[in-house]
């Protein structure tokens, strides 16, 4: 049940909200996720390639937070929070009715919940949610571990920090991919793209294929950070070389770079962590 204050609004605009929820799952949330997973999978082409891909995104400069919030964070928050409202409106009954579609109904909700919690934590873990140096200092050690100009090394270090974190990322990626692929199928019904059982069966194959490909990419990306063994010092050196080159070329300023690269005093410690983890595996 929604809270008393929000109930009338949620009830009054139920159709619009549900359709927006359905739409937001595909665009921008789903679409962003696809791009994100593909970008991350480029880690296998080396830290340099990955760094260039990240730089592309970060070339937006000061507008980036605005874009992030408007097109990624807010839609995800809406999709996730309204998703919770939807989950609370139903009552799974797989015990009595173990049909395939009914299992998927429950899985869609379970995966949605997992994906939402995962994303909330993932953004915190990597990004820190807010670009504020005091905030970042405050959460140091548990969040905001990703430094865009040292993309490969900081991300790898963050994910390989423990078995739990690696596992969390695995579960998170799988949940996100299932949720999107299954969501594409249900979305087509909701909006009336596939209506007959035959059309729905075909759409199921399409959505399933999309899911399989996406799962491949997702797991590739996951493995790229969670399992890939690499020479982190060499990668860090490469990243720093790119930064220096960009400063020299005037593409970025020293000040900008300062926020987005690993602080000097931190360099060693994070490298140490990386080494320990690598030593374990």
């Amino acid at each position: 049940m929604a809270t008393k204050l929000s109930a009338p609004f949620l009830v009054r605009h139920e159709f619009l909200l549900r359709r927006l929820h359905s739409l937001s799952g595909l665009v921008p949330v789903g679409a962003y996720m696809v791009v994100h997973l593909i970008t991350n999978a480029t880690i296998w082409s080396g830290a340099g390639t990955f760094q260039r891909a990240v730089n592309q995104i970060h070339s937006l400069g000061p507008v980036l937070p605005l874009v992030e919030w408007a097109f990624i964070f807010l839609p995800i928050l809406f999709h996730g929070l309204y998703g919770i409202v939807i989950i609370r409106s139903g009552l799974p009954n797989n015990g009595s009715y173990s049909y395939f579609t009914n299992i998927r109904y429950t899985l869609q909700r379970a995966s949605g919940l997992i994906a939402f919690l995962f994303i909330m934590w993932h953004v915190f873990h990597m990004h820190g949610w807010i670009h504020n140096s005091q905030w970042r200092e405050f959460i140091e050690g548990i969040g905001g571990k990703f430094f865009p100009f040292n993309a490969a090394t900081t991300a790898t270090d963050a994910i390989q920090a423990s078995f739990l974190i690696r596992a969390a990322y695995f579960v998170g990626v799988v949940a996100c991919v299932f949720h999107l692929a299954n969501g594409i199928w249900t979305m087509g019904i909701t909006w009336g793209l596939w209506t007959t059982p035959e059309a729905q069966r075909k759409a199921n194959c399409v959505a399933g294929s999309i899911g399989a490909v996406l799962l491949g990419i997702g797991l590739l990306a996951w493995a790229g950070f969670a399992l890939r063994s690499s020479d982190s010092d060499a990668e860090r050196a490469l990243e720093n070389k790119i930064i220096d080159a960009r400063i020299e070329a005037g593409q970025i300023t020293e000040g900008e770079a300062k926020h987005k690269r690993v602080p000097t005093e931190k360099k060693r410690s994070s490298a140490d962590v990386g080494e320990t983890v690598l030593g374990e595996t």
Partner: protein, 279 residues
Amino acid sequence: MADTSSKPDHFEVRVLRQDGPQASSYWERHRVRYEPDMNVISVLQRIASQSQTVDGKEVSPVAWECNCLEEVCGACTMVVNGRVRQACTALVDRLMAEQESDIELQPMSKFPVQRDLVVERRRMFRGLEKSKAWVTVDTYGPMGAGPRISQTEQENNYPLSQCMSCGCCLEACPQYTKVELVQGDSESDDAFAERQDSTFDGEFVGAHAISQVMLFNGHPIAKNDANERLDSLMAPGGIQVCGNAQNCVAVCPKEIPLTTSIARAGRATTVRAITKFFG
């Protein structure tokens, strides 16, 4: 053919009973003599006539609803061995093959229990009213024949028109939840009915009503009211609540293509929403 030689002399039936609305429910065991060709209706008839539990305790007959016993009236819906179905087509031989120990009967869980296996399904008919599931004609006087309709159209519409409002689709739907109101001491019957209706209107209408909207919106004359019906589906408790679990179509005793109706209604409401927005 059912091999009667291996059948027991008697079998046991567990019934979830409830003495009245909001009363607590309890299980009761009955023993019924096996006869060939029995269905759950005849089992309940024997239980009523015995009025005695397996321990010999005198009890009132189990209350249940039924009428046609041919699976066309929709009255005898109940949860048999954990699955919603019509009691008249629930054959004892098949139930015993499904679950050997006993037969388990429960009332539908999505509607208020009136007594034992009798539930109050008025909300379904309110859904039909809300959806304007009828053809608006000028008069019942002699105005000549109706519109010509192709065989294909008839073949599409006939399955939808077989819906007998039994409620199976709603019982199995994870998005359809029970609404049970209690009449106030000083509340008149009419006031209570009105309060019920307005509460029902805000809750999910369910597959049966969505399918009826598609039936009428596919009729050459009834489609004059198509937009009103679609608007009712876009109102709170409308089609948007559907979670695509598709249990409805799996349990429908008449095999009505409910999920096709739902998807078609999804398409129609999409178009309706866009045209409404842009005028």
